[in-house]
Symmetry: C2
């Protein structure tokens, strides 16, 4: 087995747990957030900076790396770890979500998916076996099975078809992975549960995926446009069905509040492009709310992005300077905002873990909920004036990265 | 006096010298290269990284910072040092070169320059006094006088007019600076010598500028398109006229080889956008020559950018990875190439200084010259095939930054 998962502490009032996920590339303290390195790079970050901020595991997108530079080149250069010069753990998605997002560029068959590259229109084929093969070439610590991910809303029929296909592909993935396991004894394979927001279908999917048996289980097909309450309910009821001894991964989620709610429902791993993509759009997460740092109100603000933050950016730079960098379209703008946002996410997870370990997670959660959703600072006032200055900037990024 | 300049060692066979320039923001070991932070940011670099690579002084462009965010905001936030959170020395140019480059957007009068912002077309006026005032607001350690910079080739008449105007403005700048000196006892003012490649005019300009008397002297109007030999000759004859006890600044120069030739002719300070701008265009300086890292030949190259380099990028990342980042248009591409190129420039200057101090500069120079111009690796072969794959990328960036 590639990974070992140990639960260190459990919260008394919820399904939250603190764990330790041992991989061939170091330990991952869970709950953990995985910065997204779409094309083998977390946009705007050097690997040294990711280490510095305490990232223990990152995610790379199989679809993107497969197309460019190609998994064979990456294999030659020592897998993603060698290629990227990243010593920590790596999880690769299966490419399924990206292929599904291409829609008119892809065609799903019983056997696999035909798709055209968004880069050059070239034709490619991804089967469950091929997805595992590519991810093994990439040398990931955690591989994901190819799944059929459906958008919200979806007809029951298409949800049911996706669940069936995902189950079938999960069994094929598992079998292929086991045949190849000798080659990559350090890798683990996670199964993905689909079923949209249909509780019955989720149960069906969970049972079929668990039947195949995996090192960990992921909830796919959430954060695809469904109402938040429904998303939380689905996560809660589905996570409750999964073996407690395995790591559970809530894919593509979400805001810092979503992460905390996911933890409360028993999830251990998260990924989302929100901290990195929002950073590039000048939207910064802080303990006081999100702020759109490009806003003119920060032009003379000598304070840090977040007065409560101890990250290298907040210890050095002012809001006024970072605002200037965004206005002047300097690369450093995105670099600093990305660093801070990732730190904020990672630090939130460290805080949550510490709260669970010390038996204070219920207090932490109550405080967070009492504070209410942290929308942008000043957003309420702007709305009172009939304006919605930056909502689209901050809210358009729900869901996973294509 | 704001700065103190001390000569530590002289080369026996040339005008080269190693010095120590003391500023209110630390010592600068000369000869020194100043990374260019056009809009109060060295593109793609954090200030911590500049410290890490040993930069002791950086340059900021008055024109750009004046237009955005505005010098009053910068003054409020503690000058450029406070605004950028940069603890080292800062030299600001006068804005003259940028204004002259705008051509159809500017109009030069006896009194000063009217120009339109390249950002929004708004009208602005820059006089010698105003240029000093703005630079004092920016809190620079070294200020430059407003000069009239002419392109190459230029008529004798326009060169002569530029020399006269530059001298007149230098006197006005000096007088204004002295009146204000009480406010900024830590600042120093450098005069700029013009005259194109006309030896007589250069002498005339040098004499008039020295008559006004400055803390240091700069050669402007070079690296503006003139042949390299003519540029070297002009620098040599003009630098020989300047007081040996003052720092001498060769503006806008150049390639690493140009820097060494400038040092041999007695220059102490240099700035150029070449290392940073070329980096963003995938052109990397190495001890073996320049390489265009986007080239397909590096797709599987597991070696560092420069096997002889000890920078953080070369110690961690491969050519193959950096090439991938450029092809995938990842921000990290420019970040890593910029870091390496700046390190290469700074390290070349450290090497030169060490050679001067230990009496080996003539050997160093002879080795460098024997090696010949370091064009791109593989460039010769490509040219034999009748192609010129990347000449424009690597060579289009002579001269100073607009």
């Amino acid at each position: 087995m590639g990974i070992q998962f140990e639960i260190i502490a459990r919260d008394g009032g919820s399904a939250a747990r603190a764990g330790l996920l041992q991989t061939a590339h170091g330990a991952v303290e869970t709950p953990a957030f995985m910065p997204v390195g779409t094309a083998a790079s977390v946009k705007g970050m050097g690997q040294g900076q990711l280490e510095e901020m305490g990232a223990q595991i990152i995610l790379a997108n199989t679809y993107h790396v497969y197309l460019r530079p190609g998994h064979e080149i990456v294999r030659e250069l020592g897998g993603l770890h060698g290629f990227m010069a990243w010593p920590g753990a790596i999880l690769t998605d299966s490419g399924g979500f990206q292929v599904m997002s291409l829609k008119e560029l892809s065609r799903v068959t019983e056997d696999g998916v035909w798709f055209r590259s968004h880069l050059d229109g070239s034709s490619h084929y991804l089967s469950p076996e091929r997805a595992v093969e590519i991810q093994l070439a990439l040398g990931a610590d955690i591989l994901m099975t190819l799944d059929d991910c459906v958008e919200y809303p979806a007809s029951e029929e298409s949800l049911r078809r996706a669940v069936k296909l995902t189950s079938c592909w999960a069994h094929r993935s598992k079998q292929f992975f086991q045949e190849r396991l000798g080659d990559s004894p350090h890798s683990s394979l996670f199964g993905i549960i689909q079923g949209g927001t249909d509780r019955g279908l989720r149960r069906e999917s969970a049972e079929e995926i668990m039947e195949a048996g995996f090192d960990g289980y992921a909830l796919g097909g959430l954060s695809v446009g469904e109402p938040k309450a429904l998303s939380y309910d689905t996560a809660e009821s589905t996570l409750a069905l999964l073996p407690t001894g395995c790591p559970r991964y809530l894919m593509g989620v979400g805001t810092p509040e979503d992460l905390a709610e996911g933890v409360a429902r028993g999830a251990d791993l998260f990924d989302c492009v929100m901290p990195t993509r929002n950073a590039r759009n000048a939207c910064v997460f802080t303990s006081e709310g999100r702020l759109v740092i490009k806003n003119a109100r920060y032009a003379r603000d000598a304070g840090p992005l977040d007065p409560a933050c101890r990250c290298a950016v907040c210890r050095r730079y002012s809001r006024a300077y970072i605002r200037h960098l965004f206005v002047a379209r300097e690369m450093l703008a995105a670099m600093l905002a990305t660093y801070h946002n990732l730190w904020f996410y990672l630090d939130t997870m460290r805080e949550i873990r510490q709260a669970i370990v010390s038996g204070k997670f219920q207090d932490w959660l109550a405080r967070m909920r009492a504070r209410g959703p942290r929308i942008e600072i000043g957003w309420r006032e702007e709305r009172l004036k009939g304006r919605s200055p930056s909502r689209d900037v901050c809210y358009r990024d729900f869901g996973r990265n294509l």
